[in-house]
Symmetry: C2
Subunit: 631 residues, 2 copies
C-alpha cells in the first residue's frame, strides 16, 4: 500500500477544523463499485483526456506561449484550466499507486507549463504575445485568476503525491505575483469565476506563506462591491457575508463557498460561518436536486429561485455536483457534522457520477432528471470543464472516506477497502468488507499496533432509518445522536465491528412547492437515486407510468447489466397518453390504468445504452381509502 | 342603440381580410356577465384610472411638456402610453353610448395632449426641454415609437366613436413625422417595443395615406438586422419572416404579430403569413398556458422554451393575454377560421379577465396558475401598462362578437345582446338570449328588414363536443366542418334559431412534456377554466388534493358568490402533506387518502376574497383497473 500524505484538503493545522483528513494514499479501494472506476480512470480516462488536450491545442497552447511553437492560442481563453485539472487528477491517481506511463506524461506536461511562465510569475497562455498588454484588464470575464487557481491546486496535489517541486515552484511564483497585485491596499479586483480563493488557502497550508491566505480573503472581501458590475450571476450583488440565498452561476457560487469555508477554517470569522450556513440551508432545503445536482437554469448556468427545480430542463452541470461535494467536504472538516457527508454522498453517487459513462470516455455536461431520448453523452466539449473535473474527483475519492480527530476515527463513506490511519502516534489498520452501495452490511476488521482506545464513529446515512452494530459479535448500543454517527468506544487491538444499515428500496417525495415533483415519487435504495429508462421497460411509455404509494418493490442483482447493478422492480399502472405533437391541451381521455411491471436502474448508469426516455420522478397515487360500503 | 362605425380593427377594405368587422356600437350587451363589467368600467374603472393618471403625474407630464406647468417629467419614460390607452378605452366606451362626464374628461385630456405636440409633429413628454436633443437616439429602450403608436390607436378610436378630429390631427402629424424619418431609404431604426406597426396600419386604413403602411412595413422589415443588438428578447435575433418559434418578451412579440398580421391583410405577402402561422402554432401548441396566458418567464417577461410553462412561477402578464386576443382577432379577420376565436375566447374569459378584480379597481400584472397566498391584486403599478389595457379590452369587447363576409354573418362569441348588422344593404337585427358562459343554450331572434338570404355561421367552440341547432323549432343538420362553424343557410325575415352547446364540467389534461402538469388535470366548463381557492375548501390544503379521473362533478349556481358563479363540486382524495419548511425531500410518508368534497371557482374570479392558496392544475389518478381476482 502506498502511503503518501496527499489529503484532498489539508486542514490538519487549520485552527477551526474539527476533523483532520486522511490522505488518499492511506486508503486503498478494493471494491466492485469504485475500484473498477479508478482502474478505468487510469487506463482509459486519463490517457484519452491527455490525448484530447493535445488534439484540441490545450497543451500546445503552452508551447506556443513559451515560443516552442508558432501560431496563435487555440480554443477558449480558459482552456489552461482543463490541463491543470488533468494534472491534478493524475497527481491524485499517483497518490494511490505508481504508474510510470502517467508519471511520464504528467512530467512532460509540467515541463510545458513551466516553460510558459513569465519572469514575473504570470502564467496564462491566452494572454501572451499580442495580448500581453491586456492582462488583468477584464477580471469579470477572462478567468486569469481562475486558471491560475487550478494551476495552484494541481501543483499542490502533485507536490504532495510525488514530492516533485517543479510545478509547485511555478505555482508559488504565480501566487506571489497575484499576491503582489491583489489585496487590501492594492488592486481590489474581483474574479468573475471563483477558484483562486480555495487554491491560495491550500497553497498557504502547504507553504505557510500567510500572504496567500490574506490575498484569498481580500478577494472574498471585495466581492459584492460592484467592481464587476454587481452581477448576481457572478455573486457580486452583495457582500459575501450578507448573502441569504444561494444564487448565480452554480459552479462559481459553490467554488466561492469552498474558498470561503477554507478561509473560515483558518480565521474562524463568525460572520463568514453564518453566511455559509445560510447558503447551505438555502441550497439543501430549497435549491438542490434530489440527485445532489445544483443549478436549475440553462440561463446563466444558474440557481433558480426557491423550489425552481425543473426536471427535463434541469441544468445540473456535472461540475456543480462536484463542487457540491468539494464544498460539503470542507463544511464537514470544519464541523464534523454528518449532514454534510450526507449531501456529499448523495451528489457523489448520483448527480456527479451520472456525468461520466461506464466506459470512462463519455460525459455529460448537463444532467437532466427527465429526458425524451435526445440527451446523449459526448466524448469532449469545446468548454471541457467537466471531464477533467470528474477525473480529479474519481482519482481522489478514497480521500473522503475517513476523518480523524484527537480520539476518534470518523468513517464517512463505505466501500470494500483497506486503510492505514495514524492516530495519536499509533498506526491503525482498518479493513472494510462490504458490498456497499448494493448492500448495507459493512464489516470492519480493525488492527492496532498497540492497544489504542479511541472512538470509531460510524456514519448512519440520512437515507437509513434503522441501523445496528455488533462489536466482536455482540450487539452494542446504537442510539443515533443528532449527528447520526454511532460511536463505538473501545480499546482496540484486533477487533471486528459489523455495521448493518437497513437498505430497502423506498420512495422519496418532495416539498410540494417543487412544482414538477408534486404528486410524484423518486425511487431510492441506499445512497442511490433510481430512474426509469425506456430500454428496460417495454410495452408502455415510462412517462405514462403511475406507481401507487403502496406498490411493493424488490431489488434484484443483475451482474451483467450496466457493469452490475441492483435493479428495482415493481408493479404500476399505465394510462397510455398517445399524445399528438399538435396538441398542448385536450379533454382528459384515458382514465383506466392497466397493470404493468416496471424496472428502475440507478440514475448514474443511465444513457449508457440505446437512447430513450428517462425519468426520476414518477407519478404516484395515494392508496384510496376504502370506505365500509365498498367492501 | 348607438350605431357608430367603431370597429376595433377596420379591415373592411383590406384585400386579404376574409371577414369584415362589426362596429362596437352595432352591438349592445345586455347580459349578466359582461354588461355589469362594462357598467363598472364606466362608473369606477375609467374614472379611477383618470384620477390615478393625474395623481401619478401622467397627465401633468403633458402640461409640463407644453409649458403650462413647471417641473420635470415624472415617472417612467413611457408613461404617456397609459394616458393614450385610457383615451382609447373611453373612446370605445363612448361608441357604446354617450356619457357626458367621460366625454368631458377625455376632451380635456385631448387638449393637454395636443398642446404638448411639437411643431414637427413629434410628441413624447419625456423628451422635452433638456432631453429634446436625445430624441430617437435610443430606439431600443426609450419607447418613443411605442408611445406614439398608442397615441395613434387612441386617436383613431376617438375619431371613429365621436367624429372628433382633434386627436386624429395630432396623430397624423406624429405619424407624418415618423414616416418622414423612418423607412426604406431613410432611418432604418427598430423600436424596442412594437406597437407602432399596427397603429400605423390602422391610421392608413382610416386616412388612406399609404406612407403609413409603408413605414409600418419598413419597421417590420428592419427587425432582425441587428440594429438593436440582435436581442432575442426584442425579437431582433432573426428577420421576422424567418422566425420559427415564438420567443422574447411576450407582449412585444404578440404586438409585433398584430402589426405583421395587419400588414399581411394589406399586402398579402405569403412569407409574412407563413411566419405568422408558424408563430401561432408555436404559441398554441407549445408555449401557451391553459388560460390563454402567454410568457412563462419573469426574466425578460418572456416566452420560455417549448413546454416551459411553470404554474406558480408563471409570468403570464395581463397585457400578454390581451395581446393574444388582439392578435387572434386579426388572424381571424384574415382567414375566417374559428381556431383563432377559440384562443381569443380562452384568453378573454381566463388569462385576461383574471387581470382585473370584480370591483374594477384592482389589478394583476402577473397571473400565476398556482399560488400559496402571497399574490394579491393592486390598485395601480409604477409600470401601469395592464390596467388601461384591460380597460380598452372591456370597453371594446362587443366588437369581437360578430363578423361579416359577402353572404354570411359570423357569430364568434355568445352573450345576451342585441345587434344591428348591415349585410348586403340590408339591416339585420340579431338578439341573443342566453346565460352564456354559464349555460350553453343560445336563442337567436333574427329580423331582417327585407327577406334576406345569408348564412348564419354559429361557432362551435373547441371546448364543445356536442352541439345541436333548431331553426324555427326544427332540428337542422349540424355537421360541424373542420372550421367548426355550423352554417344555417336561410332566407331570413323573422326567425328563431336555437343553438345548444353541450357544456358539462370536464377535465383537461396537458401534453406530458409540460413538466408541472403531467399527471394533473384542470377543471373546465364551457369557456371557463376553473381553479381551487383555499377559502372555498376547508379541512384540507388544496395542494394536497387528488381528483380521480372518474370523479363525478356537479355545477351549481351560486348567485351570491363572486357576483354570481357556477361552482363545480366533486369528491377527491387528500393525503395531508404536513410539510416542514426545513425539508426539501423526505421518504414518502402519507399514502392513504381520505375522501373530501372540493369546490372550484372560475379562475378569473380568484383573489377577490381572503388571500390563500390557489391552483388550476390538480393531481389526478387513473381509475385502477380491477383485475378479476380482486373482484
Amino acid at each position: 500500500m502506498m502511503e503518501r500524505p496527499t489529503p484532498i484538503v489539508d486542514a490538519s493545522a487549520s485552527p477551526q477544523a474539527k476533523i483532520r483528513p486522511v490522505p488518499i494514499g492511506a486508503v486503498r479501494l478494493e471494491d466492485g463499485f469504485w475500484a473498477p472506476r479508478q482502474k478505468t480512470l487510469r487506463e482509459r480516462t486519463l490517457p484519452t483526456q491527455y490525448k484530447l488536450c493535445e488534439e484540441t491545442g490545450r497543451i500546445s497552447n503552452f508551447r506556443r506561449a513559451s515560443g516552442k511553437e508558432a501560431g496563435d492560442f487555440q480554443g477558449f481563453f480558459f482552456n489552461d484550466s482543463d490541463v491543470y485539472k488533468w494534472v491534478e487528477a493524475v497527481a491524485f491517481s499517483l497518490a494511490d499507486g505508481p504508474d510510470d506511463e502517467l508519471r511520464g506524461l504528467v512530467e512532460h506536461v509540467v515541463d510545458e507549463i513551466a516553460a510558459a511562465q513569465d519572469k514575473d510569475g504570470y502564467i496564462d497562455t491566452y494572454f501572451t504575445h499580442d495580448r500581453k498588454g491586456d492582462r488583468w484588464t477584464n477580471l469579470q470575464e477572462m478567468h486569469e485568476l481562475y486558471c491560475q487557481g487550478h494551476l495552484i491546486q494541481a501543483a499542490v496535489a502533485l507536490y504532495r503525491s510525488t514530492g516533485g517541486r517543479k510545478l509547485l515552484d511555478v505555482a508559488c511564483r504565480a501566487a506571489e505575483n497575484i499576491a503582489n497585485i491583489f489585496g487590501h491596499g492594492k488592486h481590489m479586483g474581483t474574479p468573475g469565476h471563483p477558484e483562486i480563493e480555495m487554491a491560495l488557502v491550500e497553497l498557504y497550508r502547504t507553504t505557510g506563506k500567510r500572504s496567500y491566505l490574506q490575498t484569498a480573503k481580500a478577494l472574498l472581501d471585495n466581492r459584492g462591491r460592484g467592481v464587476i458590475g454587481g452581477s448576481q450571476n457572478l455573486i457580486d450583488h452583495k457582500q459575501f457575508r450578507e448573502l441569504e440565498d444561494i444564487v448565480g452561476h452554480a459552479v462559481r457560487s459553490l467554488y466561492l463557498n469552498c474558498g470561503a469555508t477554507d478561509i473560515y477554517m483558518e480565521t474562524g470569522e463568525k460572520a463568514l460561518w453564518d453566511a455559509l450556513e445560510r447558503l447551505w440551508h438555502s441550497l439543501t432545503e430549497r435549491r438542490m436536486y434530489v440527485t445532489g445536482g445544483a443549478g436549475a437554469r440553462y440561463d446563466g448556468e444558474a440557481f433558480g429561485t426557491d423550489f425552481e427545480l425543473p426536471n427535463m430542463m434541469a441544468y445540473a452541470e456535472t461540475c456543480a455536483a462536484i463542487a457540491n461535494i468539494m464544498w460539503n467536504w470542507r463544511m464537514f472538516l470544519a464541523t464534523g457534522e454528518t449532514k454534510y457527508i450526507d449531501i456529499l454522498e448523495l451528489a457523489l453517487y448520483n448527480g456527479a457520477l451520472s456525468g461520466i459513462s461506464l466506459d470512462g470516455e463519455h460525459y455529460f455536461y448537463v444532467n437532466p432528471l427527465a429526458n425524451r431520448g435526445d440527451h446523449g453523452r459526448q466524448e469532449w466539449f469545446p468548454c471541457a470543464c467537466c471531464p477533467p473535473n470528474m477525473a480529479r474527483l474519481l482519482a481522489s475519492l478514497q480521500g473522503y472516506m475517513y476523518g480523524i480527530s484527537e480520539d476518534d476515527i470518523w468513517v464517512n463513506l463505505y466501500a470494500q477497502s483497506r486503510a492505514k490511519i495514524r492516530l495519536a502516534e499509533t498506526d491503525i489498520s482498518i479493513e472494510q468488507r462490504t458490498d456497499y452501495p448494493w448492500r448495507g452490511e459493512v464489516e470492519f476488521l480493525i488492527e492496532s499496533e498497540a492497544k489504542a482506545e479511541f472512538g470509531l464513529n460510524l456514519r448512519v446515512p440520512s437515507w437509513c432509518e434503522d441501523a445496528e452494530v455488533k462489536l466482536n459479535g455482540q450487539f452494542i448500543d446504537t442510539s443515533i445522536g443528532s449527528n447520526r454517527f454511532i460511536t463505538v468506544k473501545h480499546a482496540w487491538s484486533l477487533d471486528k465491528v459489523l455495521l448493518s444499515l437497513h437498505m430497502p428500496a423506498g420512495m422519496i417525495e418532495s416539498n410540494p412547492l417543487v412544482g414538477e415533483d408534486l404528486g410524484r415519487i423518486a425511487i431510492s435504495r441506499g445512497p442511490l437515486i433510481y430512474c426509469l429508462e425506456q430500454v428496460d421497460n417495454s410495452g408502455f411509455d415510462i412517462w405514462d407510468l403511475v406507481i401507487p404509494a403502496d406498490a411493493s418493490m424488490t431489488a434484484e442483482w443483475e451482474a451483467n447489466l450496466l457493469n452490475g447493478v441492483m435493479v428495482i422492480r415493481g408493479e404500476g399502472l399505465v394510462v397510455d397518453s398517445n399524445w399528438s405533437d399538435k396538441m398542448l391541451y385536450r379533454p382528459l381521455l384515458g382514465s383506466t390504468g392497466r397493470n404493468v411491471r416496471f424496472a428502475a436502474i440507478p440514475y448514474y448508469a443511465w444513457a449508457n445504452r440505446d437512447s430513450g426516455s428517462m425519468a426520476i420522478w414518477i407519478r404516484s397515487t395515494p392508496s384510496k381509502k376504502v370506505s365500509p360500503s365498498n367492501v
